[in-house]
């Protein structure tokens, strides 16, 4: 199928589109007649495909390692765009994970106040 997706503008992606043709339509296989071109494009497509599979598996296993239910992990990985998948593969451990609640914040503030007090930087508690 020789349809270029809206976000796919680079030649590599165009190549990937072309190579998907033999699977979609028998006639498509003939579009690329130069042996060299076929090999180059197929190779690039294989690399892209393998990278994507590896990225999905990598993100999935990281999620599971972080305690996500394996069945949920598969659904969650499938819901990601390729760009999101790549970002998560590289940075799942470092990206901000919003989770804290106000109880925790109050607790952290209280600890900081106590430390400042103990270091005699503040004089907050002895005022009372």
């Amino acid at each position: 199928m020789l349809i270029f997706r809206s976000k796919q503008f680079c030649v590599l992606v165009i190549s990937a589109c072309l190579i998907s043709m033999p699977m979609m339509q028998s006639a498509g296989a003939a579009i690329i007649s130069t042996e060299t071109a076929i090999e180059m494009i197929e190779r690039q497509d294989r690399i892209d495909h393998i990278n994507e599979v590896l990225a999905r598996e990598s993100v999935r296993s990281t999620l599971i390692a972080f305690g996500v239910d394996p069945a949920n992990a598969s659904v969650r990985v499938d819901a990601l765009t390729d760009t999101e998948l790549q970002t998560l593969e590289q940075q799942l451990v470092q990206l901000p994970a919003g989770g804290v609640g106000f109880v925790e914040v109050v607790g952290i503030v209280a600890i900081v106040l106590v430390i400042l007090e103990l270091l005699h930087i503040t004089n907050f508690f002895s005022e009372f």
């Binding site: 349809i3 976000k7 972080f66 901000p96 804290v100 106000f102």
Partner: protein
């Protein structure tokens, strides 16, 4: 015990640290001068946050507001990561798409944020309640603003109506790079009309396979930005993915009526014509693509091969 000198040094250090981002905050707060009138989206649901669950609580609130019946508990399975004790921004976006809504990242400033709230959409924001070095990440939902008091109103943690000063909110939001997201129904446009951003958001919906929503989204984009070629290309591609060849062809042709040399538009139109059995039309379209393409670029070779392939087909008597 610290000496007076040490205390003095510490105080100076803290002031330097604070002023490091003060000008940024000042710029941002200056945007509040133009904000007149109070707004509060009191209908925004509230789910008191269970430990670590601000992501599911906040996302459930904005999804509910947009008409999606989902509970924080159901979202927990989609976005919570026990080992990180929280939820990632990317997964909030992915989960939103999973519920048939389009996540849209707001413009990263106060007027972008309040523009959406005033347009009637609560905005889910990421805040860093700690410091840059020791971040404490938190999701909350901005539901309103009090202009005279310069206060934001949030659904946050266990507080249904958390009122906080603009400067305090701005600091915590700035430390999270002003990240905020709202959810749109398919075809609904945000208050901030950024064509490229909107179309990219639709493309992400298309990429995860929701072509029906993508058709509606691109359709809205072509109505709002009728001269935006990418919107027409996306509309054609989404129709094609639906199997709607007539509409796909018409979208590509509109695109080409504005930009007759649009290579991707030409190649895709040619494919639709092949699918419909209009081989002569497909050949003419591909000729136009060959004529328009730069001979030194790899795409030229691809187009040339495709053109030769069309030549090998027997011209059909009638198009489908």
């Amino acid at each position: 015990m610290l000496t007076a000198w040490q205390q003095h040094g510490l105080a100076v250090g803290i002031i330097v640290l604070i002023s490091g981002c003060a000008s940024d905050i000042r710029n941002m707060l200056s945007g509040l001068e133009q904000q007149r009138g109070d707004i509060e989206l009191i209908q925004t649901p509230f789910y008191p946050q269970v430990t670590d669950q601000c992501g599911p609580s906040a996302l459930a609130a904005i999804l509910n507001y947009s008409g999606v019946a989902v509970t924080p508990d159901a979202l927990k399975a989609r976005i919570y990561i026990p080992g990180r004790q929280g939820s990632l921004q990317i997964e909030l976006l992915a989960a939103t798409r999973g519920y048939g809504r389009m996540p849209y990242l707001i413009d990263t400033n106060i007027s972008g944020l309040l523009g959406e709230v005033r347009a009637g959409r609560p905005v889910l924001v990421l805040q860093n309640l700690g410091s840059k070095r020791a971040p404490v990440w938190h999701y909350a939902v901005v539901v309103g603003y009090l202009a005279d008091e310069r206060q934001f109103i949030l659904r946050s943690g266990d507080q249904k109506r958390h009122v906080t000063s603009a400067s305090r909110f701005a600091r915590t939001w700035q430390r999270a790079e002003y990240w905020g997201v709202l959810v749109l129904e398919p075809g609904e446009l945000p208050a901030s009309l950024d064509a490229d951003k909107y179309i990219r958001s639709v493309a992400a919906v298309e990429a995860v396979g929701d072509v029906d929503s993508a058709v509606v989204g691109y359709g809205a984009a072509t109505e709002r930005w009728p001269e935006h070629s990418l919107a027409w290309l996306g509309l054609g591609n989404a129709y094609y993915a639906q199997g709607n060849l007539d509409s796909a062809e018409s979208a590509y042709k509109t695109l080409l009526s504005m930009d007759s040399d649009h290579l991707i538009g030409l190649v895709n139109l040619s494919q639709v014509q092949i699918d419909r059995g209009c081989i002569e039309d497909a050949a003419a379209t591909m000729d136009a693509a060959m004529y328009a393409a730069n001979k030194d670029t790899p795409i030229y070779g691809i187009i040339q091969e495709a053109r030769q392939e069309i030549e090998l087909r027997s011209p059909s008597t009638a198009c489908l």
